[in-house]
């Protein structure tokens, strides 16, 4: 006898059996209704609360992360601003030292020029001798008409001659004096020019200093804004950091490409040096050595940039005393040059090995040995590339520093975004759980609606009987008839809904 047969065999009529079973099932579900409602509500609230708490703690972490990001951003930006101001002060210092160092000399030079000018000018003030005043008198005497007396005639002739001579002499003296004055004034001209030039130079220096001072003012304003941690400043800095992150990322990708080219230049000839058959792990030793050489070059480049104080990834290098730092510059530069030379030689060797391999390949496939390339340009090109690439890779330190610094911020922003998304998902799960519980309860009630309907009918009948017999007050009647269990629960549910929405 199967389960169905036994199930339907409780009466002679299967339909009746089904009805009995259905009735029993509905009765069981009706009696289990309240515990089921409580269990489902409790479970859904448990999920909702757990998710809400988790979401709150995630949001708290996100807030902390955002705060930390802000602090990092401000700290980085302050450092940058300080660097800029420091650099401007350095420039001003250089300009002031350069210009004011020569100031005593300049002062002396100007004083000398001015003294000389004064002297010359004073000399030009000497008025040329004027013509004698007695000329008019003598002229009058010379114009006296004589009556033929030879003595008087001689005397007048003498006076006329003397007068002419005196006149000529006075004109000569006047001309000489004027010429001297002109020559003195001519001498003054270049001195004036010199003085003017000196004053213009001083003016230019002062203007440059003024410009620098304005620049510093601008930087200081920016610095103050960052210090004040205004939202505007933070927004600007964030966008600036994102830009830096992407640009430095692009440049690093380019540098990565250069490193790969570099690697390909030296990997094959390395097998000639360290052997082509040895392996480190699953990798050929020659490949690993090639990679190590490139990494060493990168490290040297990094140290060089640090020593030059262009980057600040290793504060210990930047804070070294100048003597030691300069030694380090020379050391790293020498090592880089040696490595570049080695790479260049390897590039040459690579060309030879590749040509040899190609010849062998041609022989093996039965083709006549091809003519060797007559031009040396590819070989020279490879050698130049081998020499230049290590130095070019040195500059990777700059975008690398920028990338590392900005990636802190970007990772923080991405992390905060992820946390926000997690919090949202958690809240969504919590709310879904809560409403799923309500949905299950509603479905349950829908499934046993005949019993609930029956309950409503019975309760209303009981209430009407009580009204007739006891004349119960209206309020009690309404309370009992209008507030069956389901309605009460619905009301509670609505309250809960409102509460959750406000939360």
């Amino acid at each position: 006898m199967t389960f169905t047969q036994s199930f339907l065999g409780i009466t002679a009529n299967p339909a009746l059996s089904v009805l009995i079973w259905l009735f029993l099932l509905l009765a069981a579900l009706y009696f289990a209704r309240k515990p089921f409602h409580r269990a489902v509500t409790a479970f859904s609230k448990l999920i909702n609360n757990a998710m809400r708490f988790t979401a709150s703690s995630v949001l708290l972490t996100e807030k902390r992360l955002v705060q930390r990001n802000r602090e990092v951003l401000i700290a980085e930006s302050l450092e940058n601003a300080e660097r800029l101001v420091e650099r401007e002060f350095d420039r001003i210092n250089t300009a002031v030292t350069r210009d004011l160092q020569g100031y005593p000399g300049l002062h002396r030079q100007m004083s000398e020029v001015i003294t000389s000018l004064e002297e010359d000018f004073n000399k030009t003030a000497d008025v040329p001798p004027s013509l004698p005043n007695w000329i008019n008198i003598i002229e009058a005497i010379a114009n006296i008409k004589h009556s033929g007396d030879s003595m008087i005639a001689n005397m007048l002739a003498e006076i006329n001659r003397t007068l002419t001579e005196q006149h000529m002499s006075a004109i000569e003296a006047y001309r000489t004096s004027t010429s001297t004055r002109h020559s003195l004034l001519n001498k003054i001209k270049p001195m004036w020019r010199k003085l003017q030039k000196t004053i213009t130079d001083v003016g230019k220096s002062i203007t440059a200093l003024n410009k620098r001072a304005k620049q510093i003012d601008k930087y200081m304003d920016n610095y103050e804004q960052i210090r004040a941690q205004t939202d505007k400043a933070v927004r600007m800095l964030s966008s600036s950091f994102m830009t830096r992150f992407f640009i430095s990322g692009i440049i690093l990708c380019i540098a990565f490409g250069a490193a790969i080219i570099n690697f390909n230049l030296i990997a094959l000839p390395m097998s000639e040096m360290v052997g082509g058959g040895s392996y480190i792990g699953p990798y050929k030793t020659s490949d690993v050595v090639g990679l190590v050489i490139i990494l060493v070059e990168l490290s040297m480049g990094l140290f060089l940039m640090e020593s030059l104080r262009i980057t600040r990834l290793f504060p210990i290098i930047g804070s070294m005393d100048d003597k030691m730092r300069i030694r380090m510059i020379y050391l790293t530069l020498t090592l880089l040059t040696v490595l570049a030379g080695v790479e260049s030689a390897l590039a040459f060797m690579r060309d030879r090995i590749a040509a040899d391999m190609e010849t062998l390949r041609q022989t093996l496939i039965g083709v006549d040995e091809m003519a060797r390339a007559a031009s040396n340009i590819p070989t020279i090109g490879q050698m130049i590339m081998g020499f230049v690439l290590p130095f070019a890779l040195t500059f990777v330190a700059i975008p690398l520093e920028s990338f590392i610094l900005s990636s802190r911020m970007v990772i923080g922003i991405v992390g905060a975004g992820i946390l926000r998304a997690i919090a949202f998902i958690l809240r969504l799960i919590g709310n879904t759980g809560l409403y799923l519980g309500k949905f299950i309860i509603s479905i349950y009630d829908l499934a046993i609606f005949p019993t609930i309907w029956l309950e409503g009918v019975i309760v209303s009948k009981q209430s009407s009987v009580k009204k007739i017999t006891k004349e119960a007050p209206k309020s009690i009647f309404f309370k009992r008839t209008k507030k069956p269990v389901t309605n009460q629960e619905n009301k509670n549910d609505k309250k809960n809904d409102k509460k959750e929405q406000t939360e």
Partner: protein
């Protein structure tokens, strides 16, 4: 600090320990059938050997031996070489190897019998001595073994770690009439090799020689 020192020492030990040449090296032993029925195919073998010479790397081992009446002998090895670790030297070794092979193939004399089992035994011995990381025995033959009376070859092969690859297994005249015999022949060799823990493959398409070293 202590942890750092331990890490550095461990890293150095791993590096030195892993600088292994034998593990990655290949050992190839090629058997050339010079029997009456197959001697004409030896020209094809030349291109296979050239392919091997072009493919094998420094520190790999290559040996070519002929299959004749009694192949379990060092005398049957035509040429053998372990390529030097410097590619330029290895290239010169390859050239010399090719010349030797060319000379052999142009002067080869066909044999009456085909001792494939003896050749395999010799190959196992040679490659085990060479101690290479991967071992390949290439059998360039129609796989029809004909042993001279008195030769005992029912010795089990120790083929663990060996790849045995039959190349250019040609069909005999009788096989054209009755292909089952050809299939049985190939299958029988496969069973023998696999029963001795070896890997068995057949590569008849010589345009796809890269399948030889395919894992």
């Amino acid at each position: 600090m202590k942890k750092t020192v331990v890490f550095i020492i461990a890293f150095a030990v791993i590096l030195t320990g892993c600088a292994d040449t034998k593990k990655h090296s290949k050992g190839v032993y090629m058997l050339l059938d010079s029997s009456d029925t197959y001697a004409l195919e030896l020209k094809t073998a030349q291109s296979i050997i050239n392919y091997l010479l072009g493919t094998l790397q420094p520190m790999d081992t290559l040996a070519v031996a002929s299959i004749d009446t009694g192949s379990f002998s060092e005398k049957d090895i035509i040429a053998k070489v372990t390529f030097y670790q410097r590619p330029s030297v290895a290239n010169n070794q390859k050239r010399a190897f090719q010349k030797k092979l060319d000379k052999f193939i142009s002067n080869v004399k066909s044999s009456r019998y085909t001792d494939i089992s003896g050749g395999i035994l010799q190959a196992i011995e040679y490659l085990n001595e060479a101690d290479t990381g991967k071992k390949y025995i290439l059998i360039f033959s129609d796989l029809k073994e004909e042993l001279k009376k008195g030769h005992v070859r029912d010795v089990p092969f120790q083929l663990t770690g060996f790849n045995v690859i039959a190349l250019n297994v040609t069909k005999l005249r009788a096989n054209i009439r009755d292909p089952i015999k050809y299939m049985e022949r190939v299958e029988q060799w496969g069973k023998i090799i696999e029963s001795c823990n070896g890997e068995w493959r057949v590569v008849n398409d010589l345009e796809r020689l890269d399948n030889i070293f395919a894992e």
